[in-house]
């Protein structure tokens, strides 16, 4: 195969030179290449199966000259000719941008002496450029096209306004555009755009699309709401055209995402005896276009998640949920399936009941399984290889940037699609399996799930990685899976890796450490290998993190780890965590962190031998006693103090360790005073501690009983014997039996 290319210089060559080439060769097109290329210009095939490359002939210099002309009568026909060349050809768009014509086109737009007809033609030309490759759109933005076009939008000519809005829409639709800041830079722009909506069908579409792309933050949502976007969108939903309804719904959805104010506004809106929510509901009817059904379902999901709708609302259970579940089927298009799956996972994420209803579907879990097997086609794999082949081939310089961008954009699209499908599937599995063991069992039977999950845990894309961790987290709530599947597949390895990588996001760390907590449960076979790979120091580091959820998970995992553990492991935890950190954790603002820290100490101080040995370690016993006193003297809630009293109970279970309490009059008095506390749980915990101290068959029991009798413990026990609380009564009875 023979491929012809033109070197870079030709494309950017001086005007005179290329004019000669064009006039020379125009009559004999088949020889054109021969004439301009040196013999070496004819290349034999590159090793890769490169596509059929046609020469990129530069714009005619006359055309360029005419476009530069200050005379409208010369320039307008040239612009029209340019527009015809551009439409449908990314290559021509590339040439025009490379030749720097964008600056000139934008100049025309701001020149007052030019007619609107001329400016409209230029706007259409710019609009065509905006439909090129992503980096063409970026070039437009970099040249300052957005402010110039916004300037035309305030013109009085409705046709110019419509054309400018259309062009802006194309620019904003490009995912990488990121030019929304310009819209918010001047407070008059947004209300003006919203005010333009009723003027024409095309303007409705354009403005709704622009605002959808430009609504990126909570702040943006609030600004748009303040300027009355919600009632304007309500109008759009009443349009007879589905081409208007869809952008209207899309804009509404993005406006309501996790925004209580916006959802409240929407829920209060009504027009001609129809509420806005009722209107949204009509778009979920089966005769509507699929896009509308899906978008409306998403709206309903957002309304529910913001608390406007109840989980048992019929619009959710009979419309939105069935719609998104149905659209995950293989028959639907890939884009629709991803959209449906994402909406589904968000909709059912926090409701066990909705999870249960969704799981009734007989196809959902297998439909999701087919998301995992979507992969790059052979052809795209080849294109991927060609990128590297292309970049190494110096002869293809002129085409390189364009080609690379073109191929890259295409391959990106396909890889994104395959990645998005996996991400969506993991999210659905995570949501489905969050609460129900039966559903989890059905999920784990999915073929390829675990291998795919393992692979994606190490993917370079953070979103996919996060979704994979989430799925694993849900599955790790199953005792059975922990014992079986997770033993066969070493999921802990990538998980530990994620926890130690600096690139991991906070969100990833939180879910990964939650999962690790489950994997460290006593009966989990993964516990041993995780320990061996340095889990303890990793978890101790987590307890130093700024985010309360990470500190909590760190302590939680340590607590699970220390449950019925070997003394060696306990000592390792003590040394690794350091007492300063223990005190910091006990003073944590998050009460859950305090609870789990106390739980950790309880677990460490269990088993008679361990208690004596560990309490006897250096200053450890003393520090623990200080910590307990600290908690008991604080104004923490009874649940926390109960844990502290339980620690004393554990210490009292030791032999030598009992002295830590018996020798400390202050602590003794405290324990005794809690025997008469108004909180039953604290009374129970205090009696538990006393019972251990006076246990009869142990060495020194008589002395301890004597001492406690002197302090009036026996009388208090007698009084407590009358208690209504069964647990407490039993504990008191047990304690009294120990005392002669």
């Amino acid at each position: 195969m023979v491929v012809t290319v033109r070197p870079q210089e030709a494309a950017g060559s001086p005007a005179r030179e290329s004019r000669r080439l064009e006039t020379d060769t125009s009559s004999q097109p088949s020889q054109q290449l021969m004439d301009v290329e040196s013999p070496s210009g004819y290349l034999t095939a590159s090793p890769s199966p490169a596509p059929v490359s046609a020469p990129m002939s530069p714009l005619s210099p006359t055309l360029v000259e005419d476009i530069e002309s200050p005379d409208e009568e010369v320039c307008l026909p040239a612009v029209l000719q340019l527009r015809s060349r551009l439409i449908g050809s990314n290559r021509q768009k590339h040439l025009v941008i490379e030749q720097g014509l964008v600056t000139r086109l934008l100049q025309i737009m701001i020149e007052p002496k030019f007619s609107n007809e001329f400016k409209i033609a230029v706007t259409h030309t710019l609009g065509s450029l905006a439909k090129g490759l992503d980096f063409h759109v970026k070039a437009l933005i970099d040249h300052g096209a957005v402010p110039v076009l916004l300037n035309s939008v305030v013109d009085t000519d409705p046709k110019l306004i419509e054309a400018s809005l259309g062009c802006l829409r194309s620019i904003f639709q490009c995912a990488n555009a990121r030019s929304e800041d310009t819209l918010y830079s001047d407070p008059s722009i947004i209300p003006h755009l919203i005010g333009l909506m009723p003027t024409s069908v095309n303007n409705q579409i354009s403005v709704a699309t622009i605002l959808t792309s430009a609504c990126k933050t909570r702040e943006h949502q609030d600004i748009l709401c303040q300027h009355g976007l919600v009632p304007s969108l309500f109008q759009l939903l009443g349009s007879p055209h589905s081409s208007v309804q869809l952008p209207g719904l899309q804009c509404l959805t993005i406006l309501m995402f996790s925004n209580e104010n916006a959802t409240k506004l929407v829920s209060e809106m009504s027009l001609n005896d129809q509420t806005m929510i009722e209107r949204i509901e009509t778009f979920m009817d089966r005769h509507r276009k699929i896009d509308l059904q899906l978008e409306a379902s998403k709206c309903i999901a957002y309304l529910y998640r913001c608390g406007v709708l109840d989980e048992s609302d019929k619009r959710i259970t009979f419309k939105a949920l069935p719609c998104v579940v149905r659209m995950t089927k293989k028959e639907a298009s890939l884009e629709h399936r991803i959209f449906a799956a994402d909406t589904l996972s968000y909709l059912i994420e926090i409701s066990a009941e909705l999870q249960r209803i969704a799981a009734i579907s007989n196809h959902l879990i297998s439909s999701m399984a087919s998301f995992l097997t979507m992969d790059l086609s052979q052809e795209d794999k080849r294109a991927l290889r060609n990128i590297s082949a292309d970049s190494s081939s110096h002869q293809q310089l002129s085409m390189n940037r364009y080609h690379m961008a073109q191929i890259k954009q295409k391959v990106d699209q396909t890889t994104n699609l395959s990645r998005d499908m996996k991400r969506s599937a993991f999210k659905v599995y995570a949501a489905l399996g969050a609460n129900d063991e039966e559903i989890r069992k059905r999920i784990i039977d999915t073929e390829h799930l675990l291998p795919c999950l393992l692979e994606c845990l190490e993917d370079s894309n953070l979103d996919l990685q996060t979704a994979a961790i989430g799925c694993l987290h849900s599955l790790s709530r199953s005792v059975q899976l922990l014992r079986t599947t997770f033993q066969d597949h070493p999921v802990w390895r990538p998980l530990m890796n994620i926890l130690s990588l600096p690139t991991s996001t906070v969100g990833m760390l939180i879910v990964a450490s939650s999962t690790l907590c489950n994997l460290l449960l006593e009966f989990s076979p993964s516990k041993e290998p995780i320990l061996e790979s340095g889990a303890i120091s990793l978890l101790c580091q987590l307890t130093h993190k700024f985010e309360p959820a990470l500190r909590l998970n760190g302590v939680w995992a340590l607590m699970n780890l220390s449950f019925q553990a070997d003394q060696m492991i306990k000592v390792q935890i003590i040394k690794s965590l350091e007492s300063d950190q223990v005190f910091r954790l006990l003073a944590d603002q998050d009460v859950n962190v305090v609870m789990k820290t106390l739980g950790l100490i309880r677990n460490i101080l269990s088993n008679k031998n361990h208690i004596d040995n560990i309490m006897g370690m250096d200053d450890y016993g003393k520090q623990i006693m200080q910590a307990v006193v600290l908690i008991l003297e604080s104004d923490r809630i009874p649940e926390v103090k109960e844990q502290a009293l339980c620690i004393l109970g554990h210490i009292a279970d030791g032999d030598a360790a009992k002295d830590f309490i018996m020798s400390n009059e202050d602590v003794l008095k405290k324990v005794i005073s809690y025997m008469t506390h108004h909180s039953t749980r604290l009374r129970t915990a205090a009696v538990f501690c006393i019972q251990n101290l006076i246990w009869a068959k142990e060495r020194g029991a008589t002395e301890r009983q004597q001492r406690l009798k002197q302090m009036g413990v026996d009388k208090i026990l007698q009084q407590l014997f009358e208690s209504d609380d069964a647990t407490l009564a039993e504990k008191v009875k047990g304690a009294l039996e120990q005392m002669p």
Binding site: V3, P51, A54, G88, S89, G166
Partner: protein, 292 residues
């Protein structure tokens, strides 16, 4: 229209002959307006099942409305206006928009593809940028016209300068492009396996595709005639019945795998149906197109 009659076993009455309708819109549609509804006409030759078709007898008015919808959607303005008088049925409101569509359709049906493209650029500057596949079909037709007129040099130049880029972007397009270029390899392309590209019905197909896109650009809810949807539904139902082994009387009998049939194209009788070319024939054309 002739297609409809063939399949419904109707004899055209009051028409100048089906052949005259093949490449242009019908001048008169009275036959359809007066014709018996297709279901009852087919009942006389019941083959498979007890005749239930009397229950399915659609009112003539509904049929007339379907025909009007077809004429308006496909942009047959003159026929629509005649039909309005003959069948006493109102024209839909948005007929005014038909003028531009007719101008464009006429240009394509007479082979003036370049003109058609320029009008589209003028009236709908975003359309062909948004629908590159449609744009390719227009350019492909432009290429076909050049080949038809034996302007080989121009055809090659046009293909290499404008169409090669399309082929690079999309392998499906590349294949279609190669089939078109293959016409050049034959002394007499009309006798080649790819002759169907040169048929008038191919122009019709492109014209209809563009017509549908124009309707969509004007925010019309339905860019296809309702008849087309109805036929697809009918075919699907028949297929389902066959699949389930139900005996029934076939209403329609034609090859659904040929997209020409489904899109309600009038069939030309001049060109004999060609068998699809065996794939290995493409091999010798597998080389680069521009270097031929």
């Amino acid at each position: 229209m002739s297609f409809l009659m063939d399949n419904f076993n109707l004899q055209p009455r009051g028409l100048g002959g089906a052949a005259s309708l093949m490449t242009e819109p019908p001048a008169s549609c009275s036959a359809m307006a007066e014709a018996h509804p297709p279901y009852s006409s087919a009942s006389s030759q019941s083959r498979h099942a007890p005749n239930l078709s009397h229950r399915l007898n659609p009112p003539r008015e509904a049929i007339n409305r379907l025909i009007m919808n077809y004429l308006v959607t496909e942009g047959f303005k003159e026929a629509a206006e005649k039909f309005q008088n003959e069948a006493n049925i109102a024209l839909p409101n948005d007929v005014g928009d038909m003028d531009n569509r007719i101008k464009i359709r006429t240009a394509i049906q007479t082979g003036q593809i370049r003109d058609a493209i320029l009008i589209v650029h003028q009236l709908y500057p975003e359309l062909l940028d948004d629908d590159r596949y449609l744009f390719f079909h227009l350019q492909q037709q432009q290429l076909i016209e050049l080949i038809r007129e034996s302007r080989v040099e121009e055809a090659l130049k046009f293909a290499s300068e404008q169409l090669a880029e399309r082929g690079e972007e999309d392998p499906a397009i590349l294949e279609e492009l190669e089939r078109t270029m293959a016409l050049l390899a034959f002394e007499n392309p009309e006798q080649s396996p790819f002759a169907n590209l040169l048929s008038a019905s191919h122009r019709q197909k492109v014209a209809s595709e563009l017509n549908a896109a124009l309707l969509k650009a004007e925010n019309a809810e339905y860019s296809q005639p309702k008849l087309a949807g109805l036929l697809k539904l009918l075919l699907w139902s028949q297929k389902e019945l066959v699949k389930k082994g139900v005996e029934y009387k076939r209403v329609l009998d034609f090859d659904p795998s040929d997209p020409m049939d489904i899109s309600l194209m009038p069939k030309t009788r001049n060109s004999q149906p060609q068998p699809p070319p065996p794939p290995q024939q493409l091999d010798y054309l597998g080389g680069p197109l521009i270097d031929q």
